[in-house]
């Protein structure tokens, strides 16, 4: 076993629900992923996944209103890296989600619908949880036993 000796730690960041703070979120997640010895390719994947999750919260849960709050936490554990994104807006309903069709989107001149697909492709696990009024998207990447993420 060559899993790096990483102690369990949790880190928090709260942002207003505006796209102007997406870069702060990416930097926050990248910093802790680097601290946890994930390789550059994995760090890039975490940045994109958390960006997509926060963008969806801003656009869909909060309908573009910037007066709300998004709470992001990063949990570093020896065998995994978890990003939790919490909001109190309109809940995402996973059962209503349909995988995007690239050609159809181009024909319809639409801009979006890729975020969930990207998160699922980049992370090992994407979960949607509800705690009372709070929605949580939980993104998890497991660290392989050989230590390569």
């Amino acid at each position: 076993m060559s899993i790096p000796a990483v102690a369990r730690s949790t880190h928090y960041l709260s942002i207003p629900s505006s796209t102007r703070y997406l870069e702060d979120v990416r930097r926050f997640v990248a910093h802790h992923a680097q601290q946890a010895s994930f390789p550059d390719a994995a760090v890039e994947q975490f940045k994109i996944a958390v960006d997509e999750a926060c963008t969806n919260v801003i656009k869909h849960a909060y309908k573009g209103e910037s007066a709300h709050q998004i709470d992001i936490s990063v949990v570093v554990e020896p065998d995994r890296f978890t990003i939790r994104i919490q909001d109190e807006g309109v809940s995402f309903v996973p059962s209503e989600y349909r995988e995007p069709d690239l050609m159809a989107i181009a024909k319809q001149r639409r801009k979006g619908g890729f975020g969930v697909h990207i998160m699922r492709r980049l992370m090992d696990q994407v979960e949607y949880l509800k705690h009372g009024p709070i929605n949580e998207v939980r993104l998890t990447k497991y660290r392989p036993l050989n230590g390569k993420a």
Binding site: A41, F114, G115
Partner: protein, 119 residues
């Protein structure tokens, strides 16, 4: 706040847009404005270069999707060149190479327009 800019250059009838910085849901409107400007100028042969593009999310990719059909209907195209590998990976993840010409160099992208029959 993300730092992003679009530089404009013309090579013959081809409009080159040089992307620099981080393209996300906050900065995607700047790329959209640049493509809108091409439309206003009736320039439909567009090469987008990504040598200095450090990051892209699906909001940035969505801008390409929103305009490609219209540009092609007008006889033009959006070709993409010089992407950094980590940025190309995001295009690839969504299957963009099926829909767009994504090439290694700006020269390759520009020359593709002269090889295509004009409509």
């Amino acid at each position: 706040m993300s730092d992003f800019s679009v530089g404009f250059r013309a090579i013959g009838s081809v409009q080159v847009l040089d992307l620099k910085g981080e393209l996300d849901a906050h900065t995607a409107s700047e790329l959209e404005a640049a493509i809108q400007k091409c439309k206003q100028d009736q320039t439909t042969q567009i090469v987008i270069t990504g040598e200095q593009l450090k990051y892209i999310s699906s909001a940035g990719l969505g801008v390409f999707m929103a305009y490609i059909e219209e540009i092609r209907e007008q006889g033009g195209d959006i070709k993409i060149a010089s992407l950094q590998p980590k940025v190309y990976n995001v295009f690839d993840l969504l299957g963009f190479p099926m829909l767009f010409d994504i090439v290694e160099s700006e020269e390759d992208a520009v020359s593709m327009f002269s090889e295509e029959p004009s409509s």
